[in-house]
């Protein structure tokens, strides 16, 4: 793998949480040996999809420097982000990476005016010198997300609807002209009917403002709608990665197949029943494939050893013994 020309690169990143006491406690690998990269040349939207507890939020928090990885490296423009210590380095980092959080009502303090967050960002990150300059910046980003300066400035969070407030938080994140947005479930608190407006906003940002986006979600259909690439996470691993068209229309990994068949579609009804399990903790601790206990294609080898990442000819990566050996070459 080349390390140049990458905006963001994760190299074998893991995060281990300790559960329980010193002696009897166990380890839980919330993120397990994850590698992923985003090119710097062309803006892309990469989705990370997984169920709750798959480690997708932990991964986002590591990229945002909210927690440190236990193992591995996270490189932003070839610099390790955990090594950034000086104020100007951090400022530089924040100019490139900006977060958007799940619940806009929790992201803004109810007692502060929404615009005060915009001014804060304008002064401290974008280096606005005067109020006029800050106003100009704010008006510009608000326009980009389809809101007007007059409508936003001076109002409190409760005076906005969820969709509008989420747009304000996108506008705030956009102000330093970042290269990368980390959006953790940005639409799950927003009504289904206006979800698409926010998803379209991400597309526009990509096309018109050259902003790449890491879109973290459990919703496969919006992920398919916006993203160029998709990474399916399961119990801490990325088990399938590739162009979203391919991954979601011809899934390789049995877990992706299960996910796909579980979407409540509006054009095809479910035929057969699926089985749920209560064995989540066991799956984390398993030394073999973590999906082996539920997989319809399980063989002995699946329970014993962890499958390797296999690259396919059509540019995908999949972590499953089904594809080992014959058809594709190993990494």
């Amino acid at each position: 793998m080349q390390s140049s020309g990458k905006l963001l690169e994760l190299k074998n990143v893991s995060k281990i949480f300790k559960i329980g006491g010193l002696i009897l406690g166990t380890e839980l690998r919330a993120v397990d040996n994850v590698s992923l990269s985003i090119d710097s040349e062309k803006p892309v939207i990469v989705s990370i999809v997984g169920e709750s507890g798959s480690g997708k939020t932990t991964l986002a928090r590591m990229i945002l420097r909210l927690i440190e990885p236990s193992e591995g490296q996270i490189l932003l423009n070839n610099r390790d982000i955990t090594q950034l210590k000086k104020a100007d380095e951090l400022l530089e980092y924040r100019k490139i990476v900006q977060p958007i959080f799940q619940n806009p009502f929790a992201a803004f303090n109810n007692l502060r005016r929404v615009s005060s967050y915009l001014y804060d960002t304008a002064y401290s990150i974008c280096g606005a010198k005067s109020k006029e300059e800050a106003n100009k910046m704010i008006a510009e980003v608000l326009e980009a997300v389809g809101l007007s300066f007059e409508k936003v400035v001076g109002r409190y969070p409760k005076q906005f609807s969820g969709g509008e407030l989420q747009r304000v938080s996108v506008a705030r994140a956009l102000m330093p002209r970042p290269k990368l947005l980390i959006a953790d479930e940005p639409v799950s608190m927003v009504d289904a009917s206006i979800r698409m407006n926010i998803m379209n906003l991400f597309k526009t940002l990509k096309d018109d403002y050259n902003v790449s986006c890491l879109y973290i979600t459990h919703d496969l259909s919006t992920a398919y709608y916006v993203s160029d690439f998709i990474a399916i996470m399961f119990r801490g691993n990325i088990i399938e990665y590739g162009p979203s068209d391919l991954v979601l229309t011809q899934p390789l990994h049995p877990y992706t197949e299960l996910l796909m068949s579980s979407i409540p579609r509006v054009d095809k009804k479910w035929q057969e029943d699926i089985k749920l399990s209560g064995i989540e903790v066991k799956e984390y601790e398993s030394t073999g494939c973590k999906f082996a206990l539920r997989c319809p294609y399980t063989k002995d080898i699946c329970k014993k050893s962890r499958p390797k990442v296999i690259k396919t000819n059509d540019g995908r990566e999949v972590m499953c013994f089904k594809y080992e050996g014959k058809k594709y070459e190993e990494e």
Partner: protein, 333 residues
């Protein structure tokens, strides 16, 4: 003809605020028959949850029943859940009507084992010995495919999906005639969601009772319901058999709601519905959807549309349709 289990006539349920009444459910009518799975759909703030709480008789200030009836029909008796005595409620809850709240950590008591919580809800009704009740409960859980050891766990030891399945088991243990489920899968991921919906459907098939399911996800409705009630701003916009609603949506709101869903395999540009639901303190005059409606006419601002039956069991409240079911004009795109 299946037996009617619930009839809702001109129900008006408002919230009292300092600025006046918020008209959360305003003049709603429909019936629910035995053996039906009915879906309540609409954006947040359109009155779905208020309606389902009222059906359960859970009306607490500032929520206020103004007028109308929500009649629970039990063995030939009528019980108006909007104006009911506490004593009466106690008799019908769990046994005739039960409630599955949103999947969340707030439902189960975090410091009590599941076993005790289960027994509390079961024993009170039955007057049976603990041991016998316990055996029965275990048997029931097994039949639902749940491991009986969940009974010895505390809620935090179970995953969200498992907790929700336990709650559903509790709610259906006494074989109620009506089960209300308010966003039963909202916080869960797709695989678990599918499992839970299957479970609800299977229980309904087994008990041959009615299930009312509230969800904002049209996909959920398509998958398991027989009939859909589309609500908008406290009123019913459209009611009809599920397949009919998806194949021939009549109300512009229903059409937009269905079209705003992204589909896999189809990257076509989609847009959400412009604007947001109205403030129900002062809802718009005439049809409440008119400020957002792409096919708005003059009459829409003046007159509240009446419910018209277009085909059997498929009703719509929209000025695009005349009393005899004829379309006035085509939808605007």
């Amino acid at each position: 003809m299946a037996e009617k289990l619930l009839e809702i006539n001109h129900a008006q349920i408002y919230y009292a605020t300092l600025a006046g009444y918020v008209k959360a459910v305003d003049n709603v009518n429909f019936d629910i028959n035995e053996g039906e799975i009915v879906g309540l759909a609409g954006e947040s703030g359109c009155g779905k949850s208020t309606l389902i709480k009222s059906i359960y008789g859970f009306i607490k200030y500032p929520m206020k029943a103004i007028s109308g009836e929500i009649n629970l029909l039990t063995n030939g008796n009528k019980l108006n859940m909007l104006f009911v005595e506490k004593e009466e409620l106690r008799k019908v809850r769990w046994k005739y009507i039960s409630y599955v709240p949103q999947a969340s950590l707030h439902v189960l008591n975090p410091v009590t084992r599941i076993k005790k919580q289960f027994l509390e809800s079961v024993k009170r009704e039955h007057n049976v010995k603990e041991k016998e009740a316990m055996d029965e409960v275990k048997e029931y859980l097994k039949s639902l495919g749940l491991p009986p050891d969940v009974l010895d766990s505390f809620p935090h030891q179970l995953s969200g999906g498992m907790q929700q399945r336990v709650i559903i088991a509790m709610a259906t243990f006494l074989k109620p005639r009506i089960v209300l489920a308010d966003e039963p899968t909202t916080a869960l991921d797709v695989v678990v969601q599918r499992g839970i919906l299957q479970m609800l459907r299977d229980i309904q098939k087994e008990l041959k009772n009615s299930l009312i399911i509230v969800s904002h996800d049209m996909g959920v409705h398509y998958q398991i319901t027989h009939k859909i009630v589309i609500m908008y701003a406290g009123k019913i916009a459209e009611i009809g058999p599920t397949d009919e609603i998806f194949n021939n949506p009549y109300h512009p709101y229903t059409r937009l709601l269905i079209n705003s869903l992204p589909r896999i395999g189809d990257r076509e540009q989609r847009s959400g519905i412009e604007g947001s639901p109205p403030n129900l303190l002062n809802p718009p005059e005439g049809c409440r959807f008119n400020p957002r409606c792409p096919s708005k006419m003059k009459i829409c601002e003046e007159k509240i549309p009446e419910m018209v039956e277009i085909s059997k069991g498929h009703f719509v409240a929209c000025h695009l349709f005349q009393k005899n079911g004829k379309r006035v004009k085509e939808d605007a795109e």
